[in-house]
Amino acid sequence: MNFLLSQEQVEIQRAIAGFLSKSCPSTTLHEIYDREEPYEPSIWQGLIELGVGALIVPEAFGGLGMEMIDLALISEVLGANAAPVPLLGHALVTLAIMHGGSDDQKANWLPKLAAGEVVATVAFDEGGQTWLPEQWRLSSSTRLSGRKRFVPHGMQANLILVGLSGGGFALVDASAEGLSRCAQDGIDRTRPVAEFVFDQVVADPLPGAEGLAEKVRDAALVLLAADSFGGASRAVESAVSYATIREQFGQPIGRFQGLKHQLVNTAVEVEPSRGLYWFAAHAFDHIAGKAEHAAALAKAHLCDRYLQTARDTVEAHGGIGYTWECDVQIYVKRAMFNFAFMGQPAVHFDRAADLAGW
């Protein structure tokens, strides 16, 4: 019984955090955030050099062969720093190819993914919250026609994993003929989104495997949950730190019991919940019977808590919290993305209820 990070895991988290604090401190983050195209490849490249891209890729394909928990731990750190990088798509495409690709596809893509030679993303939603495999309607042939929305880093990606009807997948080259991409005016500029229209686009279907789509879905849920825990924790920290520094009526506002107790209530909503994503990530690889339930519950609870926490943090900052210059706004919007992406908490709470066997 050891529900604990290994020394190695703690160190990876520290290394990523250290890298981000240097390469993407608040000032840099804001600068990227305000760009026309809010993306800075060098940060992602730096993470690739730290092994993030190779993390779950099997050793046979140039990867590190690690587990979902390791990836989720990194996702937590990215969330804590609101890192503007395409990890989510990268991870899901990697997983889909690992578990459902042909030998050729694996040999072709996994080394490139590990080395960060392609920016990969996923195209799932077809409008009206159709995030889940059973809701995809794009017909699965070698020529794709239709529409996908909210593709994260869609304008930056070279390789797109498209969700198809029946829970199938196909790989599409971003420069393929008939594919038109259009940046959406997304609220979360750390993960800019695009709408894709496919018109007879050549696609390379994955042979697939039993439960592949569900595995990719669960991975997405776990990573969003981990990102949310990281973001929510950082939001609490920043509110606590602001309350310690900021003075009103001649004393730090954190001395006023009103705010003090609100900060505690917020912290109590966040701090105990990291285990939800730890357990879901652990179950993903090791406890098949509990993986779906745990992923659904982690996504629902943590994305729900993150958004409320981020809102509470704005209030705790007062007027400053309501400005574009304040870091909190970036977290509020990242929380809005995490809340809706892959389906709202309500959807996953209801799934969790069904999966709990009640």
Partner: protein, 393 residues
């Protein structure tokens, strides 16, 4: 208890309706004027018949009517129904004019009020500072009298739309050694169009720019642009005239927000059916209806009590917090109704064809409401100490 208006007031309502029918929208040639010209023309006529600026004397451009909360309410209702222009919004008409009427000198009233009411003079508020948000007594911006002028140095913040304003009413520290600290404050008027003033709009979380930082670097204002005497700034800022401002405590805002939310729930789908039939959405809407209806009836009671010169007591101190709470509840429900559109930016200029992403403005804006004009915790202190009589800290 009678929820109808008396015959006298129903007659007044008919008068107002008849006026509106004849005067809004403008007809004939006048309908070709530009929008703001049409509005100005209409306002002028509404003042003439006594419907706008009712507490302001005729000589300053008001309609000088006896205070009548119910007539005020009927005017708001009927003007609202046909979307006719009402009194100009903003701190000039809402704060500066009442303050001048109560504490200003004769020349100040004559000079500032008419053009403020007509919209020619726009005003900004200069209360908050970076380290004195809700704590006015901490104001640090200095004003020194020198050669018959006030020299002003310091910084103000959260000044709404100051980038468009001509003047500012500013809370300054003119008596640096006065004790207690708020006895050292003065309320002065400043022309913002001068070299000593720098205005920097703050981009807000929604992307818009409604608030400004205003820097004074040896800015000047004439000695007699002070309202009240030096050191009276605290008292002047608290002055409120007995006028007909809505006694509704924001309830009409709550009601209309709720109605829009219900309309949203009818227009979007959850699990392939209109969201309004989803049992959890339905229950949450009904629970919210309880709060919104409470706010509405509470406002009826406050209005009725004002009419009868009674003090509605405790609840008047609660109105802002009630609106804030309802705003938060609406935000949560809207969030769950708009689905993926929660991932979109709010439209910067509202258009009719905007989709559900316009709710993002409410979702984020509800936080602004919780903060602006005294955070919810400041509201709670006021309610606790003035409303409930709990011991002061």
């Amino acid at each position: 208890m009678d929820l109808k208006y008396s015959a006298e007031y129903e007659a007044f309502r008919e008068e107002v309706k008849a006026f509106l029918e004849n005067n809004w929208p403008l007809k004939g040639e006048e309908a070709k004027l530009r929008r703001h010209q049409q509005q100005a023309l209409f306002r002028q006529r509404a003042v003439e018949v006594g419907y706008l600026y009712r507490s302001v004397p005729r000589q300053f451009g008001g309609s000088e009517q006896p205070a009548d909360v119910l007539k005020g309410q009927i005017i708001r209702e009927e003007f609202g129904r046909v979307r006719a222009p009402v009194e100009l919004p903003g701190v000039g008409t809402a704060m500066l004019v009442p303050t001048l009427l109560q504490c200003g000198s004769d020349w100040q009233k004559e000079y500032f009020i008419p053009k403020t009411l007509s919209g020619e003079y726009l005003w900004a508020q200069g209360y908050s500072e970076p380290n004195a948000g809700s704590d006015l007594a901490s104001v640090k911006t200095r004003a020194e009298l020198k050669d018959g002028k006030w020299l002003i140095n310091g910084q103000k913040i959260w000044s709404t739309l100051a980038q468009y304003a001509r003047f500012m009413f500013v809370m300054v520290r003119s008596e640096p050694n006065a004790e207690p600290r708020h006895a050292g404050l003065s309320y002065i008027l400043v022309d913002l169009k001068q070299p000593g003033v720098t205005i920097r709009p703050l981009k807000q979380i929604t992307g818009g720019e409604e608030f400004c930082e205003v820097f004074f670097d040896n800015a000047e204002t004439p000695e007699d642009w002070i309202v009240g005497k030096p050191g009276e700034g605290w008292a002047v800022s608290k002055a409120t005239l007995s006028h007909e401002r809505s006694a509704l405590g924001g309830a009409s805002g709550s009601v209309s927000l709720f109605e829009k939310l219900v309309a949203l729930a009818k227009s979007v789908e959850i699990n392939g059916e209109p969201a309004i039939v989803d049992p959890t959405i339905r229950r949450r809407l009904a629970v919210l209806d309880g709060y919104v209806s409470s706010h509405l009836y509470s406002s009826y009671r406050q209005l009725s009590m004002s009419v009868n010169q009674q003090d509605p007591g405790l609840v008047t101190s609660m109105n802002k917090l009630i609106s804030t709470n309802i705003g938060h509840d609406v935000a949560r429900l809207a969030r769950d109704l708009i689905g993926d559109d929660l991932m979109l930016s709010p439209p910067q200029d509202r258009k009719k064809e905007d989709g559900n992403e316009k709710w993002i403005n409410q979702f984020i804006g509800s936080l602004g409401i919780a903060i602006a004009g005294g955070t919810s915790n400041i509201q709670r202190n006021v309610i606790a100490e003035r409303g409930l009589g709990l011991p002061r800290e």
